[in-house]
């Protein structure tokens, strides 16, 4: 499967009479987006706001971040099985509005939505402070149940991303990247002298607003399976998570999975990147055992010599991470795991809820409990009324001058476990 990604660089965003790209400027027709979102009768109102890097702007409570993409050629369309027909994606050509994002926010769904600061110290902790963000502040109708609200907000974000992405269809990309993974036998033959490497992609599926969808299926219900890495770039996996903001994978993270990116970067040189296994993080022990048995079995079946395993979330999924690591190592396959830490505000506690000596190659995205003070911002997109309640906040987090003292847990994407950021932790 071969996918060409054509990047159309976006350097600024403005409202305009037509949604289009002109000279690296993204224009947004506010009314059309509003009308599109309001087609869902569960949504009472929506306000469209723009946030640019460097603005004195805080976006919160953030639910999801999505990159606008469009299929130019090849099978299917963006977000298959969710907002387009359930075709297999990942081949042909896809155009991306690189540098732009759709951010869904508004009244809280759960307790675990995040903060994006576009400037100041908080901006260093979230990758989304570098993007031209089109924010949807969603207001649900009265009495809407939280699951329905989460669904409505999720669909609104995906639909708007699809609508905005369409403008890239006929544009000439500023750069084109090509990614290719062949069918397994062919791929193995391509570099017979190199070690075969796979990627174990753990998806958050604890339920109760902690969900991920694969081609439209709730990943709780899947048995671990194999995917071409390029399928993921076309939106085969989307986020439905209201799990702690710092280490949930937004849809943007899935579309731009950096482990896949860097495995491709060294593919054919240092190793032969032969495939991705997706798995889940269910709460029942039998599910954990079954899924980790499957990841180990598939890794062995595909003849991997080494794998990277990435986690999503923390606590309960630490056990899935360690089970995957232990069982894959037991099959004589070398592992590197990517996680983050909850070592307490003082950094003195044990970082993970599970451990094993076999997990001897760990990359960490940082201690989510570390406390940060975020200065007041001139503009709030959404509302800061929930700051004390979100995971990472505490009574008194929001101060009277609008500044915020929170654990970095509350910052969207801050300790991402796909290795998206440079943040990490050391023992001192």
């Amino acid at each position: 499967m071969k996918l060409e990604i054509g990047n159309i660089i976006i350097k600024d965003v403005k409202f305009g009479i037509e949604t289009k790209v002109d000279n690296q400027m993204l224009f947004i027709n506010r009314d059309e987006i509003e009308a599109l979102v309001l087609k869902d009768d569960r949504i009472k109102g929506v306000s469209i706001e723009l946030a640019r890097p460097g603005d004195s702007t805080r976006i919160t409570p953030v639910k999801d971040v999505i990159e606008p993409r469009v299929k130019v050629s090849g099978n299917g369309a963006i977000f298959p099985g969710v907002i387009s027909k359930v075709d297999t994606v990942g081949s042909g050509r896809t155009h991306v509005l690189k540098g732009a994002a759709i951010v869904t926010c508004g009244k809280i769904v759960g307790f675990q939505e995040g903060i994006i600061d576009m400037s100041g110290p908080g901006a260093d902790y979230t990758p989304f402070s570098n993007l031209q963000n089109v924010c949807l502040v969603i207001e649900p109708i009265e009495g809407l149940k939280q699951y329905e609200y989460e669904h409505a907000a999720r669909m609104a974000g995906l639909k708007v991303a699809d609508y905005v992405g369409q403008v890239a269809k006929d544009l000439e990309p500023d750069e084109v990247e090509v990614f290719e993974t062949k069918a397994i036998q062919e791929q193995v033959k391509a570099y017979p002298e190199l070690p075969k490497v796979g990627y174990i992609y753990m998806l958050q599926t604890q339920g109760l607003l902690h969900d991920t969808y694969v081609y439209g299926v709730d990943a709780k219900q899947i048995i671990p399976t194999i995917m071409y890495p390029t399928e993921i770039m076309d939106g085969a996996i989307i986020s439905g998570n209201c799990v702690s903001a710092c280490d949930k994978n937004t849809t943007y993270h899935h579309q731009n999975n950096p482990i896949i990116k860097y495995l491709y970067a060294r593919h054919g040189k240092d190793f032969n990147f032969t495939g991705v296994i997706i798995t889940n993080e269910n709460v029942y022990l039998a599910d954990k055992e079954r899924s980790s048995n499957m990841t180990a079995k598939l890794s062995e079946y595909f003849g991997f010599d080494g794998v990277i395993i990435s986690q999503e979330g923390f606590g309960n999924p630490d056990t899935d991470l360690i089970m995957n690591c232990k069982k894959i190592e037991a099959a004589n396959i070398k592992t590197v795991i990517v996680t983050d830490e909850y070592a307490g505000r003082d950094g003195l506690s044990q970082s993970l809820a599970d451990a094993d000596v076999k997990a001897d190659a760990v990359v960490t995205g940082g201690n989510a409990n570390e406390v940060i003070v975020l200065p007041p911002m001139a503009k709030i997109i959404g509302t800061d009324a929930y700051i004390n309640k979100v995971a990472g906040g505490f009574d008194g987090s929001l101060r009277s001058d609008g500044s915020i003292e929170v654990e970095i847990q509350a910052i969207t994407g801050s300790t991402n476990e796909l290795g998206f950021n440079k943040l990490t932790t050391k023992s001192i």
Partner: protein, 348 residues
């Protein structure tokens, strides 16, 4: 003006004598003695050892409290800027003494303290969280390497230089996890690490896994009808109104409660002190957490021999592993003394 530093050594390094002289009581000498000369040299005039405290290892360890007090009194008049103890290398009692006195100085005089030990010295585990312990070799042949590191770290601490790093400053990591921005993203670091692991090259894990205690379950009891069974819980069941005031979270104690004449734990007489779960069902029927009712039935039916007359209870919610270990060691010892054959442990 040069910083003033106080140095602590044992009788051996003060050239008083070996084990036969380990009983000597604390004494103070002006200026540097023994290893202190090397420290002074490494200070290069930026700091100076103003006095040396000497104490026998046996005396210190057998009279820890008194020795600590005496030493603090002796050094007080020197108004020093920092304190150095050792290095103790792999000497266990010397390491414990260095750690104890350095910690006491740090806490009471509010000046930085530095010591040096071999990684396996028992003093390391006891004090690494509170103290900067420079890692040394296991014997005094490593003196020449240890002293410059200890001196440099002491100078850094006195000048309030932030951003200490164990890999640069040579001290044993204190186990404090601190965030920083690396040069590469996590994904790049992960791919790098995998390539190294595949090539059998050395790499450094970013989080060394802690070793969890894994306790093998005891052997099955052959004849239950003769066994004495005890109940122990972290579910917080206590007599009504929580007479021992066990905390609802992060418990600092456990309770011991007589159930000799109790047939079952009712909501009238018992409740839970636990703050980590919905207490409605436990308060309604405390047997749900400590199953005394069923156990009494089994006792009557002769399935089990007898029930231990006491149950032990604490709150597991947010309670430190260290506290839990202390409780369990005490409880286990009492159970052993009372001839208990088996324990039913209930959590929530």
């Amino acid at each position: 003006m040069a910083y003033k530093v106080i140095h602590y050594i044992n009788q051996f390094f003060a050239n008083i004598g070996g084990e036969e002289m380990a009983h000597v009581t604390p004494e103070i000498r002006e200026g540097a003695v023994g290893p202190g000369l090397g420290i002074n040299k490494a200070f290069k005039g930026e700091a100076e050892i103003v006095c040396t405290v000497i104490c026998g290892d046996s005396y210190f360890n057998e009279n820890t409290e008194a020795a600590t007090k005496e030493i603090l009194e002796l050094i007080k008049p020197y108004e020093a800027d920092a304190f150095i103890a050792g290095p103790a290398f792999n000497a266990g009692r010397y390491g414990t003494a260095c750690g104890t006195i350095a910690k006491a100085v740090q806490e009471t005089m509010h000046i930085p303290a530095v010591t040096g030990m071999y990684i396996e010295n028992p003093g390391v585990d006891m004090f690494k969280k509170e103290l900067y312990i420079v890692e040394t070799s296991n014997a005094a042949v490593g003196m020449r390497k240890a002293l410059p590191k200890m001196s440099a770290l002491t100078l850094k601490l006195m000048s309030n230089e932030a951003d200490l790093d164990p890999t640069i400053d040579g001290y044993i990591p204190r186990g404090i996890r601190k965030n920083y921005f690396a040069e590469l993203t996590g994904a790049e670091r992960a791919v790098d690490m995998l390539v190294k692991k595949l090539n059998d090259e050395s790499y450094t894990t970013e989080y060394p896994m802690p070793v969890f205690d894994r306790i093998e379950p005891g052997k099955a009891i052959k004849d239950l009808s003769k066994a004495k069974i005890a109940l122990v819980t972290s579910g917080g069941i206590v007599p009504k109104d929580n007479p021992d005031r066990i905390e609802s979270s992060s418990a600092s104690k456990y309770g011991t409660y007589n159930i000799e004449s109790v047939l079952n734990l009712t909501g009238d007489n018992y409740e839970t002190a636990h703050g980590g779960y919905d207490p409605v069902y436990a308060n309604d029927e405390p047997d749900r957490v400590v199953p005394l009712d069923v156990l009494r039935d089994l006792e009557k039916e002769g399935v089990i021999g007898s029930i231990h007359p006491y149950f032990y209870s604490t709150v597991g919610n947010g309670t430190a592993v260290k506290s839990s270990k202390e409780f369990s060691l005490e409880i286990a010892e009492k159970l052993r003394q009372d001839g208990v054959d088996a324990v039913i442990l209930t959590s929530t």
